[in-house]
Symmetry: C2
Subunit: 201 residues, 2 copies
DNA sequence: TTGAAAAAAGCACGACCGTTCGTATTATTG
DNA sequence: CAATAATACGAACGGTCGTGCTTTTTTCAA
């Protein structure tokens, strides 16, 4: 890895840490330069513009999520255990991924949900990819006989995703120590409602 | 209403419109001055600081939510119908409240979930008030015999809130036309799981 | 070791930020 | 109408923003 490439990685790591704290709109050239010890112009030279930096940062966040949550989950046994692995990995994945604060992708999804542009487009793309991976895991759980064949996969994904969002809200803004417990109960109810009776212990 | 009070209301209306679009961190003195036709200094004089303006705006948002969603819902028949009224009123309440875009309170809850200060404190307070109103409505539904007496009220509130968050995500970022349908299905499943059999048609 | 290429720094720019101050305009009251 | 208070304005302040340019330093290969 050349020096420039290494520096770029360092910058993106700092950008992820900051986005985890305060979102992507807080990613300014000046603050990032200070964080990394670079000069403004030196840092700026690695990206054509601030927007390019933000885009690179959100791509890095999506990659980190995939590596931290999805990849390990697909190593779990197929079916419902894998869905649980995904869910558990999802809750508080930022800690495991080395980010001290919130989920930067979630922050971005609120910041850009009404602001057309490359950031929004990228974000939607990453979510669609996540959706597909989730769909796949659910389909496998159906094929494995764990979940009912008449399950509406999109509805299941909606419900599961909603629980994670509820967890973020409760755990972070409301400082609810029982957020994880609540989220697991909700996901358990979701699975129970669509489980094939007797298929799992 | 004196002139100053009227102007202050106009400013806060503009602030809410802007926060609905781009969050509370986008509330700058300059942009708001342009939006209202006031000068920067003229606008600034109505609030001691930008932070005070933001706080006043989020209080106004909470008030608008209460007037638009909670108050009408408490006019609905007690029990599950009232819970449905709350839920329906909640989805897309910003339109009914005169805000063209997203829920400003939701935007704020992501912007300030990791930033201590008066904004976060106020936000948490408003959510606690909402939580209490919701708890009350659920308790009434239990007393009315619509929902099971062993229902965990906090868990119910978590689940219901999560569904709304899932709706926001699907409807706004993902432009999912079926978001409302999905949310209603999820809430219907929540109610069905805790309904007293035969208590409702 | 030297020389080309890459990387980082230095500096300057116009724009906008929140805020302050003094002044002018407008409302309200006696 | 006059006096006074409320309201709004214009200009300016020190800072930070993103972004160009030029120069210096570092890296890496011949």
């Amino acid at each position: 890895m050349g020096k420039g490439e290494h520096t770029r990685t360092v910058i993106l790591e700092a950008a992820l840490a900051q986005a985890s704290e305060s979102g992507f709109e807080s990613l300014t050239i000046g603050s990032l330069a200070e964080r990394t010890g670079l000069s403004k112009s030196g840092l700026f030279a690695h990206f054509g513009s601030r927007e390019d930096l933000q885009c690179a940062a959100i791509d890095a966040a999506a990659q980190l999520f995939a590596d931290t949550v999805m990849k390990p989950a697909f190593a779990a046994p197929r079916g419902v255990p894998r869905l649980w692995a995904m869910f558990e990995g999802w809750l508080g994945w930022t800690q495991r991924g080395g980010l001290a604060h919130g989920c930067p992708i979630h922050a971005a999804s609120v910041e850009y949900d009404d602001r057309p542009g490359p950031m929004r487009d990228r974000l939607v793309g990453h979510y669609r990819a996540l959706q597909q991976a989730l769909d796949k895991a659910v389909r496998i759980a159906i094929d494995a006989g764990h979940l009912r064949a008449d399950l509406d996969i999109e509805q299941f994904a909606f419900d599961m995703f909603a629980i994670v969002l509820g967890y973020y809200h409760a755990a972070r803004l409301m400082d609810d120590a029982r957020a994880g417990e609540r989220a697991r109960a909700a996901f358990g109810r979701l699975l129970a409602d669509f489980a094939v009776p007797g298929a799992l212990p």
